[in-house]
Subunit: 336 residues, 2 copies
């Protein structure tokens, strides 16, 4: 119980005084201990421990010009869609001695711009943004601050910021190709909200292109398990005779699968279900979900490495394309 509860936090000078050395010496035992006489060092370290001294991050930052803080603008952490990636980003950044501030945007461009400014205000040295479709406000803020920024979840080599992500359009095309191979002609496409979500838009574009000529009907719903459930109810009412349901995200597919089960529709006998994402749970649904694998964790790692390098060594990273691949499991089968 050394807690001098009431006293203010001790600073470098306090330590120096009670250790009877100069502030420079204290600073040295903190930053390059080996340069300091063992005896003095021990004494100083003793005092530091005794006083419970902690260097002020602010003061360090002001001198070094570095905060070692990075910020991430993420739509939401409310589903596995982004939290896997954020988890991976954080773990990778630690290896570089960097910390991560998360800011959720709910796919609202205005909120995104506001939070970007807040991130800059707290002094982040780099930012992760999600997707490539942003408000002018955000682009302005990013441009004038000149803070290294990488865009994730979307690969686009021509984008003005380095992107680290997958080709959402191609992912959709892969799923559609599989559906067509299986002979499915009438497909219901279940997707989340379009506003502020370029990933969804790209997937829809890919779907439209791949399914050209076939009967394809779009169902917009919440990007959630519940959204999938609702979509199925709608679909069975509108298009009971479709061959397949294509969900633009596994999260909705979970709801679709379960609701179909509840309704007594046999997947894949009566209907194929396919999706995009391949979340950890997708391998264990009933039936196991056929889906296009998007390497969310790997994306987090790559993005973190790219931004870390940019921030640390001032090298603007090249865009990184992460290949997606179709994982055929039990929820799709040849049309009978």
């Amino acid at each position: 119980m050394l807690g001098n509860s009431k006293k203010k936090k001790p600073n470098l000078r306090d330590v120096a005084r009670t250790a009877e050395v100069s502030v420079a010496t204290v600073s040295r035992v903190l930053n390059s201990p080996d340069v300091v006489n063992k005896a003095t060092r021990d004494r100083v370290e003793g005092v530091i421990a005794q006083l419970g001294f902690v260097r002020s991050a602010a003061a360090r930052a002001i001198n070094s010009g570095r905060t070692r803080l990075l910020g991430a603008l993420i739509p939401t952490l409310d589903s596995d869609i982004f939290s896997l990636t954020v988890n991976s980003i954080e773990q990778t950044l630690v290896e570089h001695g960097l910390s991560l501030i998360v800011a959720t945007t709910d796919d609202d461009p205005e909120k995104e711009a506001r939070k970007a400014q807040e991130l800059l205000d707290v002094g982040v040295e780099g930012i992760f943004v999600t997707g490539v479709d942003h408000s002018d406000a955000l682009n302005d803020i990013l441009q004038r601050s000149r803070v290294p920024t990488v865009a994730i979840s979307f690969y686009d080599a021509g984008y003005h910021l380095p992107t680290v992500g997958y080709d959402n359009r191609v992912a959709a095309e892969m799923a559609c190709a599989h559906l067509m191979e299986l002979g499915h002609a009438r497909v219901a496409v279940v997707h989340g909200p379009l506003s502020g979500n370029d990933r969804t838009q790209a997937r829809i574009d890919g779907t439209r292109a791949a399914l050209a000529g076939k009967s394809c009907r779009l169902y917009e719903t919440d990007l959630s398990v519940e959204g999938g459930v609702k979509a199925v109810q709608q679909i069975m009412q509108d298009t009971p005779r479709c061959d397949a349901i294509f969900c633009l995200s596994d999260v909705m597919a979970f709801g679709v699968l379960n609701e179909l089960l509840r309704m007594g529709v046999d997947v894949p006998r009566d209907l194929s279900v396919i999706s995009i994402h391949d979340l950890p749970a997708s391998e264990y649904t009933f039936p196991p979900l056929t889906t296009v694998h998007l390497p969310a964790r790997q994306m987090g790692r790559k993005a973190a490495e790219s931004l870390a390098a940019w921030v640390e060594h001032d090298v603007r990273p090249d865009p990184v394309h992460l290949a997606s691949r179709l994982v055929v499991r039990g929820s799709t089968r040849q049309r009978s």
Copy 2:
């Protein structure tokens, strides 16, 4: 395109110089605009915009002694278990003008202590820790830094830190009580790793107490959907005649339900399945999962409000108990 790409970031002095005023005036237009002559203010604001000046967070922090940064030590963001809470914490903190740094610990006490130190090093003013069982190292660090800290996911009024959470033991008891009401006597308990996880331990304690006298067998597995799948395989081999499976977290229950389905075991006819958590997906499993609702989002909000108040107004918050409640859905039924 005002981007003087090569130049260094402008500072207060630069602004003052080009606006032909003193630094004090610039500082004023930034902090108390109304005190400054409209004309001067406009001019200064113009220069600020023109130069793309952004105040240094570090310098502000050094003066105010505030960083407006909070840190959260979270086991993982790899499942909905904590990401819902983190999402909610972040959203609440924004309302208080605070930012959140996330640090994942993988339920590893050592890593937790290390990350706590890192959080302090970057200057957080407050910390969220998960659970109440921590290494001495962490407790030391927390104590000497005297940084406001609240513990979440676990309610314990007697803990040395304010807790905001549920009574994990009671949650388990509620589930068991339901099972007993239904006449189930042989239950298989599926739980995640115990090491470093006091929530799990408390739930097991509650289970043991509530099920005293009944046949109850424990199955430890990964805290994941896959973990649930594996556990079922084990259970069906060991204890094929059990009446019920009690999962200590919904995440595992998802796997249990799906694997049972795959095996052709009818839930709830052949077997009841019950769990703890009530994640967004739990309402839509097949059959819908009977589970003890843990208000994860509300916990995030409460915890954030508590810590924000502590940090801002120096009022140590009281512990907050969040009631859990049994949500009976379709996965349990009277033993026949």
